[in-house]
């Protein structure tokens, strides 16, 4: 009865662990994506957009250079203003935002014949927080001389648009991944639940079977004990002829054998029902060993084998342990030894290995040795 709540707690703990693992996985996935976005994708997009801004600015530099080499000062001023106004008119068709927000000119008056500062013009905005600044050299189309520098302020609308699109795609797909993880988590929890249910069912069935076997074995022992008892009594009756006494002896031996089998079944069912506990009692070890030796000796003699039983003097007479189990183990080992030995002999040796004395409770280690001249374990 105590096991069931424990099992339930274990099952609930498993659910919690599985849930936690998946939550951690989802958090890790999202963190990795944010890191990838922040450290790789966004800077890369920014570099791409800056490069794009440079190309756009460079494409406009030629018309400014063309305007600057006009010979006539009045005409030059007019063409330059017109070019700058037109450049600042260009808009991104996707966002309808001006591509160039501002443009400043710095002219080399050693090359351009104009009063110093007269052409250093500034059109549009002179400051913007997020825009890209691109400085472009203005070369004379006629002589290739550097005639000045144009500083363009290019809108970051392209970057913003790209950034928004990529982010939307990336995190949209990550949400799909998260959903898949949640589905997998649900499936895993359902599977664990099913496995636990099946295990619980199997355990219940097994326990019922064991209980049935235990009860059956117990019920069988009562009439069997009567058969053994009465056959033994009858075999002592002198009125029976030797032939009948022999028959009664066979009935008795068969009954004993059947009882042994039933006891084994009972033991097995106890193991399966988890009721196999050590029952410690104080008993006379010498007496138990003699009984075991007696039982084995009969079988050994039948097969014309030798049986040696030795125990050292330091083996204590009275010990406390599960006598039944000790006897069972020794009988099993010796039974097997006799069964598989065709010539030679079987021996049982008992000796004290270690003794630890204490005021309240002393303990010792005994060594039981079973030796045979059989073929051994293949």
């Amino acid at each position: 009865m105590k096991n069931k709540p424990d099992a339930n707690i274990r099952v609930h703990r498993t659910y919690i662990y599985v849930g936690l693992i998946f939550v951690l996985l989802i958090i890790s996935l999202q963190s990795l994506l944010w890191m990838y976005w922040g450290k790789v994708l966004e800077p890369r997009l920014q570099r791409e957009a800056a490069s794009q801004a440079n190309v756009l600015a460079h494409s406009q530099a030629v018309r400014l250079a063309d305007a600057l080499i006009v010979e006539d000062a009045g005409q030059r001023y007019h063409v330059l203003n017109e070019s700058l106004d037109e450049i600042l008119l260009f808009t991104d068709p996707e966002t309808n935002v001006p591509v160039f927000l501002g443009c400043e000119l710095e002219i080399d008056y050693d090359v351009v014949a104009a009063p110093p500062g007269s052409l250093d013009k500034s059109h549009g905005v002179t400051y913007c927080h997020d825009c890209f600044i691109s400085e472009v050299a203005l070369y004379s189309p006629a002589s290739d001389e550097l005639i000045g520098i144009a500083r363009f302020r290019v809108s970051d609308s392209l970057f913003q648009r790209l950034s928004k699109d990529v982010k939307k795609t990336l995190f949209g797909q990550s949400n799909l991944g998260t959903l898949l993880l949640l589905i997998v988590c649900g499936v895993v929890i359902i599977l664990i639940k099913e496995i636990n249910r099946s295990r619980h069912q199997a355990e219940t069935t097994s326990r019922a079977k064991s209980a049935f076997l235990a009860n059956m074995s117990h019920e069988l022992r009562t009439p069997l004990n009567s058969i053994i008892g009465f056959s033994e009594l009858m075999s002592l009756d002198p009125d029976f002829s030797p032939k009948y006494r022999e028959n009664l002896s066979i009935i008795n031996r068969s009954g004993e054998y059947l009882l042994e089998l039933i006891n084994d079944v009972l033991e097995l069912s106890r193991i399966e029902a988890a009721q196999n506990m050590l029952t410690e009692t104080s008993f006379d070890l010498y007496d138990t060993l003699e009984k075991v030796a007696e039982m084995v000796r009969l079988r050994v003699e039948k097969k014309n084998l030798q049986f040696v039983f030795e125990k050292t003097d330091d083996v204590p007479r009275y010990i406390k342990t599960d006598e039944r189990k000790l006897r069972q183990i020794l009988l099993n080992l010796l039974g097997n030894a006799v069964k598989f030995t065709e010539e030679g002999g079987v021996s049982l040796r008992v000796k004290l290995v270690k003794e630890k004395k204490a005021v309240s409770n002393s303990s010792l280690v005994l060594l039981f040795e079973v030796e045979d001249s059989g073929p051994g374990i293949a």
Binding site: N54, D108, V136, Y139, A142, S143, D144, E145
Partner: protein, 182 residues
């Protein structure tokens, strides 16, 4: 069949490479003129006839050097800072060992060996001349000026080489250039 394919591959590869080098030479020609125009002391580098002389140096491909020379000559205004420019196409020996001719700048049209390049740079340093090469990697090898091809073509300057040759450039030009620091 395999040999045939291999020979096609071998034949095609230099052609692509040549196209790439040719484009760099053409783009470099314009930057070379801008570099000479940005030389603060360019006026002092005219010859006795008052003209600026530039040498297009080649090793074995005079035709290609001549093609670049045509690009330099065929400008609306082929002068630099209002000074007439005489463009000469010469092999390495003639360009470097010429005692009587004083060049304002030398333009490399072919890759030189390390020894020849060193000899050229030493000569240019001694004569206070600008050496320019649009060939990739030459600026890193010690040539004063070249081109950097990125989103746009920019002048590429080896500042240490410029200091060594005592070539002074306008700040405007330095501002728009990519600089190589050894």
């Amino acid at each position: 069949m395999l040999i045939f394919i291999a020979s096609i591959g071998y034949a095609a590869k230099p052609s692509v490479s040549d196209d790439f080098t040719d484009r760099r030479l053409t783009a470099g020609a314009k930057i070379f003129r801008a570099l000479l125009a940005a030389d603060v002391d360019i006026v002092k580098k005219t010859g006795s006839d008052g003209n600026l002389r530039v040498c297009l140096l080649y090793l074995n491909d005079a035709d290609n050097a001549e093609r670049v020379a045509e690009t330099l000559r065929n400008r609306d205004d082929s002068r630099i800072r209002k000074i007439n420019v005489i463009t000469e196409v010469l092999p390495h020996g003639d360009c470097v060992d010429s005692q009587e001719k004083r060049f304002a700048g030398i333009f490399l049209t072919q890759t030189l060996s390390n020894e020849k390049l060193k000899a050229l740079i030493d000569y240019a340093n001694e004569k206070n001349m600008v050496v320019f090469s649009p060939i990739e990697g030459d600026v890193e090898r010690g040539v004063q000026g070249g081109i950097a091809v990125e989103a746009r073509v920019r002048p590429y300057l080896n500042t240490k080489a410029l200091r060594t040759a005592d070539v002074r450039l306008k700040s405007f030009f330095i501002r728009v250039s990519k600089q190589y620091e050894e």
